[in-house]
Symmetry: C2
């Protein structure tokens, strides 16, 4: 029974689009560029949220909520910020509809025009720093460590489910500090949290680094990022953490009295990850049979499928399975017993393969007689027969093994696709034939960066951090360079 | 040390507004009608969310996420729905800003006008039923039991923190069923969940009922609600659950093949509670000293304040307190040990009273010598001295007692403020002198309902459910009536 899924080799992009829809993660809505996140996809996002939220709280952050609307004048206060976001804003201009007088239907009421237009937040620095001005007077009010789970809107022209959508869900942290050093440490601490989350929960290996000036967040002094590599050799930025200096404090006049009683501007960071991570998750691990989910984020970790003829056999199987379900749940393992009589085992196998359930148990007449289960793992598609008395321990171990295996597999792929190059010709050639990350010397100028981008579509993903110093020459201009930077084509 | 809080008696409305801000729950933002939910307030909302989310999932509901924008044409498809919501919509008309050519700043780019305006969702029936059309083909796809946690916007002219804001947070459930009976049962099941949540978590007693036709949700066949009574004798609608009949299925052409293979329109419900519940929570229990929080929703259930002179004494106290903190946390009790040396005990006592922390422990030199703690409860302000060896059991019991006590106190207030009246004169007189709920006969006509509203500002809060039949005469017109309905002035 096939899944009618385009293979990765045939068309990676099409494979991704089909898989996201067929595995019930998300679909396009009737609203341009906005997606519907379906229950199965949302359940994965909830697991991501729970893990991240725990990590933020364990490091002293609190959640809060700020308005979705940003007055146009706020956006304009930080010069580079407005440059970065003005071109893709959803703008609210009116606050009422009415019936057209000519009976042609419902129209915007021209009398209900806002005095000042409101922007649907593309990110919340401006509205939050306008608030922080009221919250911060003294060093005793610092640090302020706040996170928000919210929806944001950026009017992208070309959208793809999870990877680039007009509306997306994310968390955005916004912190305020008394010193530059403390703010930088915060931005780096968050980068470590993102790295730990990506590698240990998503099983996605990432490279940490800082952005070149041209790729920095609009309004940041330094942007830290983590970069992952997808199976088609393209990079995906999986999270960013910004050291904002005093830019927003100055734009919104947020000063504090320091211990010496002097007034100083506050130091800031902001940082975020979004539903884009769902795209990274799918593209890192999945295969031509469907999703492969890391056990730590799988909404269903174990599915049990009975193989039977007639309801008598099903009853005998169920009597065996139900205590097992209970025991697994007691261990915190999420398990589904799919005893639907409306679908055949083969259909169910297919469905759970497509949905990436890490472990599948099957039990038929022979298993009943032998007191065994057939245990299949999604990552390798291997099957084995396991004694009923050992099955719980086996599953616990297997979930851990799968989590490790898919991380190691992704890491091996990345290690195999990270190439040190010293000539621009070699770079261009390997970029096309092999793809992946390239470590190369660059002269540090925006002009060279731009030229490489125009000629190859590759961008500087990051300057790896902590930096590994190495004298060399820019692969394009031959000018001196003190370290290699990471290039790739990217999502 | 005073809290400078207006008393309830002086000015209930002012007391509420001050308390919400001073207790760090929320504040107004620079955006008209939109609030900032501060960390302490948001922590309470998170506890509400967690409890409700668990109850929804335990009854088979799944979370999903739908777009924030609704095309204008969608809103118009259900006739009474658009009537109900068109007058208070935030309308997105453009998708880009640009620099004004005359250098006057940033303006809306007239070339980036949307072909069709988008409404920021005031509620999501239309976008969701447009999606359900793709998800539902057969009875096998039903029931569809979906919930969404989201922000919504209704352009209210007069706003108050939590009670009525342009943007608010809520959950909205949207379910689809094969039969009318099943949909009605779902709407009633959710009403039971809301009742259980209000009474057992918020400690807010509520009256269940159905709305009169005039107060029904725009697009509903029947609206079920729970109504709570605030300390000023005004009612507050705390949650609604709507049986939508086939209205939205017809508007969005959502049909399914039933077991007999015939096409039929799907039956629907929708239901929601919002951050308005925060207002209900504050107004039900709090007093002139500040918030009173039910232990089940308190972000900090127990606070421990050391009373000392010099750091030696503090060290001795901390040695005693830290193991206690650990033991309380192991029992799932959230506890804060406030050993800040920058603030005096009196200041701290005040702060935690204002913030409604249910239990406060204090420990000074005498307590150290006697191996005791001073235990104060927020609801009654009573204090007692408890042996250290018994303090954990004591706290566990006390948290339960406080939860029960504030519920019973609120229930007693409501029972004392629910009056059966048979004459309109008596109704009008008692409404002014005493306030509260009134059970009275009504002739069932919108005209009489409207007249009462105009003359007294009281509305029909609900027709209590299950209904208690009782023959009587309408208090206004004398026409026959089969049951009493519940009147009150309301938020």
């Amino acid at each position: 029974m096939g899944k009618n899924l385009t293979t990765r080799k045939e068309d990676y992009s099409k494979w991704y689009n089909e898989l996201v829809v067929k595995a019930d993660l998300a679909e396009n809505s009737g609203v341009r560029g906005c997606m519907v996140i379906k229950p199965y996809g949302y359940a994965i996002w909830e697991k991501m949220q729970a893990a991240l939220d725990r990590m933020f709280k364990d490091t002293g952050h609190e959640n809060a909520y700020f308005p979705i609307f940003i007055p146009k004048s706020y956006l304009s206060k930080e010069a580079s910020h407005v440059e970065g976001f003005a071109k893709e804003c959803a703008v609210v201009t009116h606050y009422r509809l009415k019936n057209a007088e000519d009976g042609s239907g419902i129209i915007v009421d021209p009398e209900a025009k806002l005095e000042e237009e409101l922007i649907v937040r593309p990110t919340s620095e401006t509205i939050i720093w306008d608030t922080y001005r009221r919250w911060i007077q003294s060093y005793r009010d610092l640090p302020l460590l706040i996170n928000q789970w919210a929806n944001v809107v950026r009017w992208e022209m070309r959208t793809r489910l999870f990877l680039r959508t007009a509306e997306f869900l994310w968390q955005e942290g916004h912190t305020a500090h008394a010193t530059e050093q403390e703010a930088i440490e915060e931005a780096e601490k968050i980068l470590d949290i993102y790295t730990e989350f990506a590698e240990e929960h998503m099983a996605v290996p990432v490279i940490k680094g800082t952005k070149s000036e041209g790729e920095r967040f609009a309004g940041a002094v330094e942007t830290y990022c983590i970069e992952a590599l997808m199976q088609d050799g393209k990079a995906l930025q999986a999270g960013t953490s910004h050291f904002l200096g005093q830019n927003f404090a100055k734009a919104f006049d947020v000063k504090f009295a320091n211990k010496e009683g002097q007034q100083d501007y506050v130091w800031a960071t902001s940082w975020g990850v979004s539903t884009r991570l769902m795209g990274a998750l799918v593209m890192t691990h999945s295969d031509d049979n469907g999703l492969v989910l890391p056990p730590k984020l799988a909404p269903i970790q174990v599915v049990i499928v009975p193989i039977y003829k007639g309801l008598d056999q099903l009853e005998a199987i169920s009597a065996k399975v139900k205590p097992l379900v209970k025991d697994l749940r007691a261990k915190g393992i999420s398990v589904k017993y799919d005893d639907r009589d409306t679908h055949k085992p083969g259909f169910k196998f297919n469905e759970y393969e497509l949905k990436g359930v890490p472990v599948r148990l099957a039990i038929g007449q022979r298993d009943l007689q032998n007191d065994t289960f057939e245990v299949a793992r999604r990552d390798t598609l291997e099957k084995e027969t396991v004694k009923a008395s050992e099955v719980i321990d086996h599953i616990e171990e297997l979930l851990q093994k799968i989590q490790e295996n898919i991380f190691n597999r992704a890491l091996a792929y990345r290690e195999d696709h990270i190439t040190r190059v010293d000539s621009y010709e070699e770079f261009k050639s390997l970029l096309e034939s092999k793809g992946g990350f390239f470590l190369a010397h660059w002269d540090g100028t925006p002009e060279t960066e731009e030229r490489i981008k125009e000629e190859t579509k590759a961008t500087i993903r990051c300057i790896p951090f902590p930096a590994e110093e190495e004298d060399g020459k820019c692969m394009v201009t031959g000018k001196p360079s003190a370290r290699r930077v990471l290039f790739a084509k990217a999502y």
